[in-house]
Amino acid sequence: MIADRMSKQKVHEIRWHGRGGQGAVTAAHALAEAAFVEGWVGVTSVPAFGAERRGMPVSASTRFSPQVIRTYSQIELPDVVVVLDESLLDDPSVTEGLKRDGWLIVNSALSPERLQVSGDFNIAAVDAARVSAEMGLLSGGSPLVNTAILGAFSRVTGLVSMPSIEAALRRRFNNSASDTNVNAARLTHQRTILNPRSNGETGEPRTGEYLRVSGYCR
């Protein structure tokens, strides 16, 4: 049902947000590879240009389209925003421009309803960190969620199938690591909780959240 909503006849723009070291850029590239495997003709992925440091907010983007992509400028109106670190949701620029029928996908232990996010879009959440921890996908002691969350992307959008994501991950990692990453993506795919906008509140965000966000000055 959800896959039908996200048409394969148009351009899709995905923006990734994470912190330096979490692998948002790798995720953007891996999704692009998976989209290419899936058969999308136009595929691009690119890090946001600027200095990157461990722990600092970083972003990246992936585009795919049934036609060759001719635009390289930054995404203004994303169809999907994927957030690897839910603390970034405090920054309104993370969901800025997200389309009304678009999806926000968050790595979080909270359900979509309980996430402190205001905005007129669909929300999905998955505890990808827990999945990665269970799989032993760790980097410096912290769970590495960037590949696991690709499973959530597939589940939510239906734009790139799990076999394509698995093929992209197997290209990127050697045998044992590719199994772990593929299994993490599969488990995340299962555990993703979807909260379409029509099932929740529509229109104006709840007052408390609205105040909290609008009080944040960029």
Binding site: H29, A32, E33, F36, G42, V43, T44, S45, V46, P47, F49, G50, I69, R70, T71, Y72, S73, Q74, E76
Partner: protein, 387 residues
């Protein structure tokens, strides 16, 4: 990848953002044995250019890559390489030049090297970068002039996109090994690039030797002759690989275009998106993409702009106190031709400032009104999306 396909014999480079992935990949492939190229580690870009000049002098196909301050640091050796007529190919990953510091994209670095005698070609996507490097060796080795293959830093260099990799057999057939006319050879010692005087004169053995000016004229004529060669090589490339990149310049929806957006590099792709949307609203726009900046495609520009009533140049460089370099070139090309059209110059995207199709559209729509013809602006450039 292009270096491997072209069977480059010597490469030397010093890492600089955003060129770094090129030198890192070259070093890694040579180290792992996947690339049979002699990679020379150096302490600076000046030395990198000295190394590839020397290797080219002994007859080796030679390649380097740099950006921004690195290219600026090569400046002296750029003159030397072109003056010595060495067919080196260099990738210039376009980046802004400091001060103030910026690691991000514009084309001020390569434009600043305009008069060093190098050919300059600008690619609009990653497929064209690969293909143009292959073409560049063929062009350079036939007219004995080095080629700078320029592409936008980050915008292209750090964007992943699908690229068709040609087969080694096809590239080998297209680009045979470099056969230099003259090489430095210890077994047959000769002097190259000796001191010249103002006028031709007889040397110690009584042979008539050229003066400095004759060498300069020959370099100029070599670049002029490269004009046809660039077109021919692109056609030959298309015959083998099925892709043409337009030779000296390319057009998009120009046949009936009343307003032409003139660009160089990746911005041309963004401009085609703007054109599609403008045409949906009935605005007859098109794109003229400058692929070769040196030699400049004078004839092609006049031909491609035949239906245009207005041209607007969007470029990522500025000749301070004058206007954008492409704008000046375009005006010079049109001078004395039948195309007596206003040329508007816009400076865009300096230091990585994002340039969006909708911004280009807005400029074009603003120019299609009554004011289009009064827009000559006394040569003053306008600046897009200043804060």
């Amino acid at each position: 990848m292009a270096v491997r396909l072209c069977r480059v014999q010597v490469a030397s480079a010093y890492p600089i953002t955003p060129q770094s992935p090129v030198s890192e990949t070259l070093a890694r492939l040579v180290e792992s044995g996947e690339l049979a190229t002699e990679f020379v580690d150096v302490e600076s870009e000046h030395s990198a250019m000295a190394v590839v000049s020397a290797s080219s002098l002994v007859g080796a196909r030679s390649f380097t890559a740099t950006s921004s301050q690195g290219l600026a640091y090569m400046h002296e050796m750029l003159h030397w390489t072109a003056g010595a007529r060495l067919p080196v190919v260099m990738a210039c990953v376009n980046r802004a030049v400091g001060a103030p510091w910026s690691i991000l994209n514009d084309q001020q670095d390569s434009i600043s090297q305009r008069d060093t005698g190098w050919m300059q070609m600008y690619a609009r996507d990653n497929q064209e970068i690969l293909d143009t490097i292959i073409q560049a060796f063929k062009i350079a080795e036939s007219v004995y002039v080095p080629v700078m293959v320029c592409y936008d830093g980050f915008v292209l260099s750090h964007t992943n996109m699908p690229v068709d990799i040609p087969s080694q057999a096809d590239v080998d057939a297209f680009l045979p090994p470099y056969k230099p006319q003259y090489v430095i050879d210890a077994a047959d010692p000769r002097t190259y690039n000796a001191v010249t005087l103002a006028n031709p004169r007889r040397d110690a053995s009584g042979l008539m030797r050229q003066g400095y000016m004759e060498f300069r004229q020959q370099l100029h004529e070599a670049l002029e002759s490269a004009h046809d060669r660039i077109k021919q090589v692109d056609q030959e490339f298309a015959a083998v690989f099925g892709r043409s990149h337009g030779g000296m310049a390319w057009g998009y929806s120009l046949d009936d275009a009343e307003i032409a957006m003139v660009t160089m590099g990746s911005l041309g792709m963004e401009a085609t998106v703007a054109v599609d949307r403008l045409r949906q609203r009935g605005c007859k726009a098109g794109v003229l993409g400058i692929r070769a900046f040196r030699p400049f495609p004078k004839g092609e520009v006049i031909e491609l702009l035949r239906s245009a009533k207005t041209a607007v140049v969007f470029e990522k460089d500025i000749s301070y106190g004058s206007e954008g370099a492409v704008c000046s070139e375009l005006k010079a090309a049109l001078y004395g031709s039948q195309a007596r059209i206003p040329v508007h110059g816009y400076i865009v995207g300096l230091g990585g400032r994002d340039v969006k199709a909708r911004e280009l559209e807005a400029v074009v729509e603003g120019l299609t009104g009554a004011g289009a013809m009064d827009g000559r602006q006394n040569g003053k450039p306008r600046w897009l999306s200043l804060g």
